[in-house]
């Protein structure tokens, strides 16, 4: 069988990462930005797991990605609560409308 080397996985990780960054940069919807964050974290996770198989990182890579998943869930919960709170006060989740604090 033709094996897939580490490079394929790293490329996927990079694509996820960059898509996430673009998503964070362009989306005006608060929840859209959060999705970008999830993509970025996932890109990193793909890297970790790929290194754990192909590199000398071993099981540590997999465990790191486990913790990242858990932390990402926590972060998403808080971010969502904040977005909801913002919505309750401003009746929109358009991040660009968060422009009252300036100076």
């Amino acid at each position: 069988m033709e094996g897939v080397g580490i490079n394929g996985y790293l490329a996927v990780g990079a694509v996820l990462f960059v898509c996430g960054v673009i998503c964070m940069a362009t989306k005006r919807n608060g929840i859209g930005v959060l999705m970008g964050v999830e993509l970025v974290l996932n890109g990193a996770n793909v890297n970790f797991v790929a290194f754990s198989k192909f590199g000398p990182l071993g099981l540590d890579g997999q465990i790191a990605s486990l913790f990242v998943i858990v932390l990402a869930a926590a972060e998403a919960a808080v971010a969502l609560a904040i977005v909801l709170n913002f919505y309750n006060n401003h009746l929109t989740i358009d991040v660009d409308r968060a422009n009252e604090l300036q100076g």
Binding site: C19, T26, V49, L66
Partner: protein, 204 residues
């Protein structure tokens, strides 16, 4: 076979991610995100990380994304469902993003990872996943090793080796993350719960 599966999963993961970027509708974005994350779980299975893959499905796809969609439903009423980014921004971002992607991919792929790994392993020892005999029945059964590592014992690294100190176990993060989750949960619940009642009712 492996190549075929990889192509399918990788294409779905990347395609989903790109669709998330291009889509303007939040709910569709969430759907593409599910595709992307789910395929990533598939990639994890291919990388012999079955436990991580399952966690990805259970927590990420089944939990976090559902939470996000829930948030969409609570906030995105009608007009806000599609908040469009201006096309100029989009084009700009995509150009910059493509450049950035090129940079990351070129840098990352230029590295001779296998060579590095061999070099490091020749000096620092073989990576634990490759150790024969620990993973039962073929590859990918990492649950036991992960479980032991989360309790601080690295049987995969330390068994039969002569080390003065035990290798890095993950007892501390495993425990402290629970505190973190508790704190975060309290915080999220605080923000999400309705504003305080003015006069405290005697009975709920």
């Amino acid at each position: 076979m492996e190549l075929l599966l990889f192509t399918v999963f990788a294409a779905a993961a990347c395609g989903g991610a790109i669709a998330v970027v291009l889509s303007q509708n939040v709910v569709r974005m969430a759907f593409y995100l599910v595709i992307s994350l789910g395929s990533t779980a598939g990639l994890f299975f291919m990388l012999n990380a079955d436990f991580v893959g399952a966690t990805q499905l259970l927590i990420y796809v089944g939990g976090t994304v559902v939470l996000l969609i829930f948030g969409v439903m609570l906030t995105a009423s009608g007009p806000f469902l599609t908040i469009k980014s201006s096309p100029g921004d989009m084009v700009q971002a995509i150009l910059v993003g493509a450049l950035f992607l090129g940079m990351v991919v070129v840098t990352v792929l230029q590295v001779d990872w296998d060579g590095n790994a061999a070099k490091l392993e020749s000096r620092y020892g073989v990576s634990s996943l490759e150790r024969p005999g620990y993973n039962q029945r073929g590859e990918g059964h990492t649950t036991r090793s992960i479980g032991a590592a989360l309790l601080g014992a690295r049987f995969d690294k330390d068994l039969g080796k002569n080390r003065e100190q035990p290798s890095t176990g993950y007892l501390l993060p495993f425990e402290i993350v629970s505190v973190h989750l508790l704190v975060v949960l309290i915080g999220a619940a605080y923000l999400a719960r309705a504003k305080r009642r003015v006069n405290v009712p005697s009975e709920f």
